[in-house]
């Protein structure tokens, strides 16, 4: 009798738990059934009248019903929680393709990039990076580099004169003299920087461009050493093995002086428009440091020797990125600069 009542209660409570449509309804069912004044509590009050034996049996039954209902309640609650979480997550849908706020990353100028890359390369080769001023004395820019006044070689570099024996440096070579005085022999140095030539500007000529001067002074420095150094450098710059050749070139601060050509990277030496069918592209001037220049740097040419070179960074940037108009580089146009 008691048992059947309990089973009826359990059955109807179970149904109501399942039927609860919201956490609130579920709570109402819980209060009605399992609350302090709920059906189960009522039922257990009635158990006082039973015999001890019946009471024990009814107690076990009651406990099992209670556990059953609590488990059902818990399951139902969890279901509601899951649904609520699911609903919240669903409501939190976002359009992941919307743009992120804040500025996009900026860019470094291509000349900065190539310069930093080369600085890193040289530094890894144990080479010091030096600076020199953009305004130089005529003496440092010419005389100290074995180009005395009225020397025809001064024609090779159209100069912006500033009066009082000053000029805008026409090359980074004056840093050779500064570097020798600063570092003393033996030394390995580079000096990238801005240089100036008094030239009309067009697609391939600029009055302002960038060079990287290099110099090594040691006990015995040979043309063979210079070749090795340049080949290593250029292979790194172009990201592949390059073939180089030297031919005579005249620069008063080196003796012997060379033009260094690389085998055309476009045609591999077979001849094409870029190399004017010669298979070679003129890349940089270099040479063994002239004894007069070593002396200017306070270095005894009988004890020491060296090589020096001047790499055109502007030209390198143009080659690397296929830039066909040199004026872009100092035009300040973000439509151009953003690309790097």
């Amino acid at each position: 009798m008691l048992e059947s009542q309990l089973q009826n209660l359990a059955a109807s409570a179970g149904e109501r738990i399942l039927a609860a449509a919201s956490p609130e309804q579920l709570e109402a069912v819980r209060v009605e059934v399992l609350g302090r004044k709920g059906a189960i509590a009522e039922f257990s009050k009635g158990m006082g009248k039973l015999t001890a034996e019946d009471r024990a049996r009814a107690g076990r039954l009651l406990n099992s019903v209670k556990n059953e209902l609590e488990a059902a309640l818990e399951a139902r609650r969890k279901r509601f929680a899951d649904e609520a979480l699911q609903a919240r997550l669903d409501a939190e849908w976002i359009d992941v393709t919307l743009p992120a706020p804040g500025p996009r990353p900026g860019t470094l100028h291509p000349l900065t990039q190539i310069q930093q890359e080369l600085e890193d390369l040289f530094t890894s080769m144990g080479v010091a990076v030096l600076d020199g001023p953009e305004v130089e004395s005529e003496y440092n820019n010419f005389d100290a580099l074995n180009i005395p006044p009225d020397h025809p070689a001064r024609d090779m570099q159209d100069t912006f004169w500033l009066g009082e024996g000053l000029c805008l440096r026409t090359h980074t070579s004056p840093v050779q003299v500064r570097g020798m005085a600063k570092l003393g022999p033996p030394l390995r140095m580079i000096a990238p920087g801005r240089v100036f030539r008094n030239e009309e500007v067009d697609a391939s000529h600029e009055h302002t461009f960038y060079q990287l001067e290099g110099m090594m002074v040691d006990r015995d420095v040979s043309i063979a050493n210079m070749l090795y150094f340049m080949k290593t450098l250029l292979s790194h710059v172009f990201g592949r093995e390059v073939t180089v050749r030297l031919r005579p070139g005249y620069f008063p601060f080196v003796e012997p002086g060379f033009e260094l050509d690389i085998q055309c990277l476009i045609c591999g030496g077979a001849g094409c428009a870029v190399c004017k069918q010669s298979g070679w592209v003129e890349l940089l001037p270099c040479g063994l440091v002239h004894p007069n220049v070593l002396r200017q740097g306070g270095i005894d040419p009988e004890q020491w020797g060296g090589f020096a070179f001047g790499l055109g960074l502007t030209r390198l940037v143009m080659m690397r990125y296929g830039i066909d108009d040199i004026r872009h580089l100092q035009g300040g146009d973000l439509r151009f600069l953003r690309q790097f």
Partner: protein, 776 residues
């Protein structure tokens, strides 16, 4: 400089290298060739032809001519030349030949079919005469006498700067002979100069400026056009044919690199040629028709009445060779290179002569030039006669000491082994004198044409041997050097970090020129006189050196605002500040800008954020604005107690929309940047936070309020953070409320609420003491 392949070929016995090969060899071993081009290829097909009949074409200025072209037969051509007449022999160009890049055809002109053409000297590239067709002395059907196809090798003048000898074909032929192992043929026969007293006297004032002056006097001269072969040879290398006499001087110059000048002897006054400095106020009208004022710094050639030539640069008009000339003085001299160069730059007059002299020509060459000229003049001016021997005044010849060349030193420089015999043979092929003074040591004497400037030390010989043995034979070899880290360059590292940080904030790097115009600097309230000025600017708008990056950045903003509504850009570059006596100060600066087209608040605080990223803890300190700055949006940037830069918005007169700039002195910033970092113990006890609002005048600075609050908070203040500010009701119009969150804590305990309250009260009390109303 243009070189005729044929000419070189004449001077090198058995030269087999093709024009292209010779060009390549010269490039690799001697000097940079810019190219080689066929010249006069049409002369393989052009023939002499006798004009048989000429008749007018009605209604045309052209005429119909029938010419006998020998084996080619009779050809009918239409010809417009005024000298086209029956009986003359002229040049006939058959159809199919290319002339000046255009194919000569068989086509109908004025109703007449013209088969090929009759050509002028200009059309054929023999001279510049386009007045009429050539008139020849030749048999019909034969090729034009002594005129054959050639190749012109163009050599970069820069690569000849140190080689006075290569400014003539003989010098290049000497190289070709040495490179190919052939024999050089000397065109000069010195014995053509007769012995005996000269018919002209020469005095030289300063032998340093004129180390040698040689001259010959000729009589019975006929001045007339040069033979065509001579015209063609000069024309092919870009020299204009003038007349037979002048052409000979140019021929000798082009062959031997020795400039020469011919004076009409009858137009000279007195019998002495003076080589002297010009007197102040002297003036000369030169061959080019221009009058030049001379100064004492210029060397002139003068006769008894005044200058007759600017030495080494150009001759005078009055004494020039003319059709009536019958006697001439032929000058072949040597001048001081730097002096010629100075004169020619001062007069802005560069001539074929001055270009050669400024390279330091060989004094030995003067007599050789005259000897060669004697021979040529006899060819082109039949009946010409020398009067007397050579006038020849020279400083005592300087024989430079031989150069000592140790073999082991040479090999160390080259970086490859080489046999003594090979060194000797190379040097001898270039006509150096070589003797082995002790085993492995050569004594090398330098030929006169290399000794003026080019070669004086053993390093110069490394080049001679290196280029001839071939640089390609040198194997790249790693230098043996100690491996150690290079000296640091903190400045560069610092600039790199700055660039990286700025770019990371969305700024694009620009490079601007160092040049500004006067207008540019005035626009920014600066005086042009305070700038370093370029004495020879390309144009007036590039005449001053920038002492601020702002004008450049301003231009960048203006230009880019045409394409973008907003952008960020920056530059790292040097300001150039004038300094009396010595190099200017070059101060590295960062200038970074954000532009927004908006009229709204604008990007001021975004740029301020950049300043704070670069210089944590820096503070803007409002100061009086410059004329291009927004008067109420400009501040100095103070960092670690020093003013390091400026943060400002452009005045609306300067930029439409809003543009905010941060301009930082990177040298100062770098000096302040290093900070030794010390660990502070992490506070173990929690702090207590409370908010305070200060009612302050509207333009009171939040930064000041913050500092004042902090000063009353005492050592327990852990942080003070700005929260917000408020203006409007119920506050009075000229007031605002600024709220901060303060956190206080102790290192050894959790503060009690009484302690926190006491600190808070002290702050409120303090602020009220300063006259602020506090909202608590």
């Amino acid at each position: 400089m243009k070189f005729s392949y044929n000419w070189i070929h004449e001077l090198v016995e058995g030269l087999e290298a093709s024009p292209a090969d010779l060009t390549r060899l010269i490039t690799i071993k001697t000097a940079e060739c810019e190219g080689v081009e066929a010249a006069g290829a049409h002369f393989a097909q052009v023939v002499a032809a006798r004009i048989l009949e000429v008749e007018a074409i009605p209604g045309s200025h052209n005429r119909r001519a029938v010419a006998d072209a020998g084996p080619l037969g009779r050809r009918t051509v239409v010809c417009g030349a005024p000298n086209c007449r029956a009986g003359i022999v002229t040049a006939y160009v058959p159809a199919g030949v290319f002339l000046e890049g255009r194919e000569i055809g068989r086509r109908v002109v004025d109703g007449v079919e013209s088969d090929g053409m009759l050509a002028s000297g200009s059309e054929l590239g023999i001279n510049r005469d386009h007045e009429g067709i050539l008139e020849l002395d030749a048999e019909p059907g034969v090729p034009l006498p002594h005129i054959v196809p050639d190749h012109i090798i163009e050599v970069d003048n820069k690569s000849l700067t140190h080689r006075p000898d290569l400014w003539g074909h003989y010098g290049m032929a000497r190289e070709a002979a040495a490179i190919t192992g052939k024999r050089l043929l000397d065109p000069v026969r010195l014995e053509r100069i007769p012995p005996g007293a000269a018919a002209v006297k020469v005095t030289i004032e300063d032998f340093q400026l004129c180390p040698r002056y040689s001259a010959l006097v000729f009589e019975n001269v006929t001045v007339r056009p040069s033979p065509l072969w001579l015209q063609y040879r000069l024309e092919a290398i870009g020299l204009n044919s003038i007349n037979n006499i002048v052409d000979v001087t140019n021929y000798v110059m082009a062959e031997l690199a020795q400039p020469m000048h011919a004076f009409d002897a009858d137009k000279l006054s007195g019998d002495t040629i003076f080589v002297r400095n010009a007197r102040e106020g002297e003036r000369i009208t030169a061959l080019n028709g221009e009058a030049y004022d001379l100064t004492a710094a210029s060397l002139v050639i003068a006769d008894g009445s005044g200058p007759i030539a600017i030495a080494g640069v150009i001759g005078g008009l009055d004494s020039a060779i003319s059709d009536s000339t019958t006697r001439l003085v032929l000058e072949s001299a040597n001048f001081h290179a730097a002096n010629i160069r100075r004169t020619s730059s001062r007069l802005k007059l560069r001539t074929d002569a001055s270009m050669r002299f400024e390279k330091s020509q060989d004094p030995v060459n003067t007599a050789r030039g005259l000897a060669r000229a004697v021979e040529l003049l006899e060819m082109v001016s039949p009946g010409i006669r020398l009067t007397g021997g050579m006038a020849d005044l020279a400083a005592p010849a300087r024989t430079p000491a031989p150069i000592t060349l140790p073999m082991d030193w040479l090999m160390r420089k080259l970086g490859r082994p080489i046999e003594s015999a090979e060194v000797r043979s190379i040097l001898e092929s270039l006509m150096f004198g070589v003797s082995e003074t002790s085993p492995g040591v050569f004594s090398v004497s330098v030929p006169s044409w290399r000794a003026t400037k080019d070669i004086s030390i053993k390093d110069d010989l490394v080049e001679e041997i290196g280029r001839m043995v071939g640089y390609a034979t040198i194997t790249p070899t790693a230098p043996v050097v100690p491996t150690k880290p290079p000296p640091d360059n903190p400045r560069r590292r610092f600039h790199r970090a700055v660039r990286q940080a700025v770019a990371a904030q969305g700024f694009h790097e620009v490079y601007n020129y160092s040049f500004l115009s006067e207008e540019d600097v005035r626009r920014f309230g600066l005086a042009p006189a305070d700038h370093v000025a370029v004495a020879n600017p390309i144009s007036v708008d590039q005449a001053l050196l920038r002492r601020t990056l702002i004008p450049g950045i301003w231009k960048n903003i203006r230009e880019n605002s045409k394409h973008f509504d907003q952008f960020r850009l920056f530059e790292v570059g040097v300001e150039i500040h004038k300094r009396e006596g010595g190099l200017p100060d070059e101060v590295p600066h960062l200038a970074a800008a954000i532009y927004e087209r908006t009229k709204e608040a604008g990007p001021f605080y975004e740029v301020k954020r950049l300043a704070e990223c670069l210089m944590p803890g820096c503070e803007p300190r409002p100061g009086s604005a410059r004329m291009f700055e927004h008067p109420f949006r400009a501040a100095d940037i103070v960092w670690r107690g020093e003013t390091v830069g400026r943060l400002f918005e452009f005045h609306p007169d300067f930029v439409e929309g809003r543009a905010v700039v941060l301009d930082v002195d990177l040298a100062r910033m770098e000096a302040l940047a290093p900070v030794e970092k010390r660990y502070q113990p992490v506070r173990r006890f929690p702090g207590s936070a409370f908010d305070l609002s200060v009612i302050a005048p509207r333009r009171a600075l939040a930064g000041d309020l913050r500092k004042q609050l902090a000063s009353f908070a005492g050592p327990q203040l852990e942080s003070i953070v700005y929260l917000r500010q408020y203006e409007g009701s119920p506050l009075p119009d000229d007031a605002k409320s600024v709220s901060f969150r303060l956190t206080v804590a102790a290192t050894d305990r959790t503060l009690s609420s009484e302690e926190v309250g006491a600190t808070r009260d002290a702050i409120i009390e303090g602020m009220r003491g300063l006259g602020y109303e506090m909202r608590v």
